[in-house]
Symmetry: C2
């Protein structure tokens, strides 16, 4: 069991509806030691990959992305979310349905910040249904750039987003990969790593 | 002129309505060298202050706050924004009017992440009217904790938020302090530092 799986077992809370609450260290309060360690682990997993830009989505992906950008010495771009986007002249726009917010958000990146030469590493705190990741991939492709990998802190294997992305040929790395959770017993099982 | 003032002159764009666009390096794309340097500068300005927690507000404050937390080795909390907050049982809630979004947002922090022993350094990318800073101060006070300082990357002196906070007795440090901007000539004047 790695550091993040141990942290999830000690500090994560399983809520009804297959929800994992980790806002004591990952997405409301930030335990910077954990965030830094996640960034180093993702650096190690993608050490053979050339990266020119780290891309994430506001808000809770920004901390990990900032650390990744610091460690890999590349710029970070965070996609912005809005319910509506008026002008698309100067933006790459995609849409992602948020299951937690129960609505569709427009996701966008201003055109100057992604170019066709970019080799983009997408990072985020969670990968569940893969809605956000697919929106970011769409934006990278609109820019004519290449997605070289997707690195996340926590994957929820039961929601299939990671499986679909791997089936589509993307390299996906998750530091902790949750196989199942049980609210009644507060047990969390992880996918065994190789 | 310091590094951030130089960066603003070279890469910032003055828009109509007294708006400074710095999203090429500060709040959409992140130039990590600049973000790190801002964090070190704020560390230096507050070097005599004991800090137990860094507090910011989503989304664009998170990168600077993450770096500050890393450098000062304290946890970071980012306040969340919503148009509505259903339950206030487990949250400290305040309100801030956003002039850019032209609406009032509820701003909240879950109660476990601020305690009466905390000595809180508030950080953000911009300080203009001071709406966000006042909401964060309100939240810190609801928790019975102490605001030990407010550190921002860019202050817009003409919008008076910084002056009001200083008049109220808060220690406010801004890495770049803009006295005036002119859209027609694209000139930016900074407040002379001591």
């Amino acid at each position: 069991m790695n550091f993040l799986e141990e942290k999830i077992l000690s500090d994560g809370i399983v809520k009804e509806g297959n929800v994992l609450k980790v806002d004591s260290f990952l997405n409301h309060q930030l335990d910077i030691d954990v965030i830094r360690q996640i960034a180093y682990e993702l650096k190690s997993r993608f050490r053979d990959v050339e990266v020119t830009k780290v891309l994430t989505i506001e808000a809770s992906g920004i901390a990990i992305a900032t650390m990744m950008g610091d460690i890999r010495e590349v710029p970070v771009v965070f996609a912005k979310k809005h319910e509506t986007v008026n002008s698309t002249d100067d933006k790459y726009v995609s849409a992602a349905y948020s299951f937690t917010q129960r609505r569709e958000n427009h996701v966008f990146v201003s055109k100057p910040y992604l170019s066709r030469d970019d080799r983009v590493l997408i990072v985020d705190d969670f990968l569940a249904d893969g809605e956000a990741a697919h929106a970011l991939i769409d934006i990278v492709h609109q820019a004519g750039a290449q997605v070289v990998g997707i690195g996340v802190a926590i994957e929820k294997a039961s929601q299939q987003g990671g499986r679909r992305l791997r089936d589509e040929g993307y390299r996906v790395e998750s530091v902790a990969n949750i196989e199942s959770m049980d609210f009644e017993t507060q047990t969390i099982r992880f996918v065994e790593s190789d």
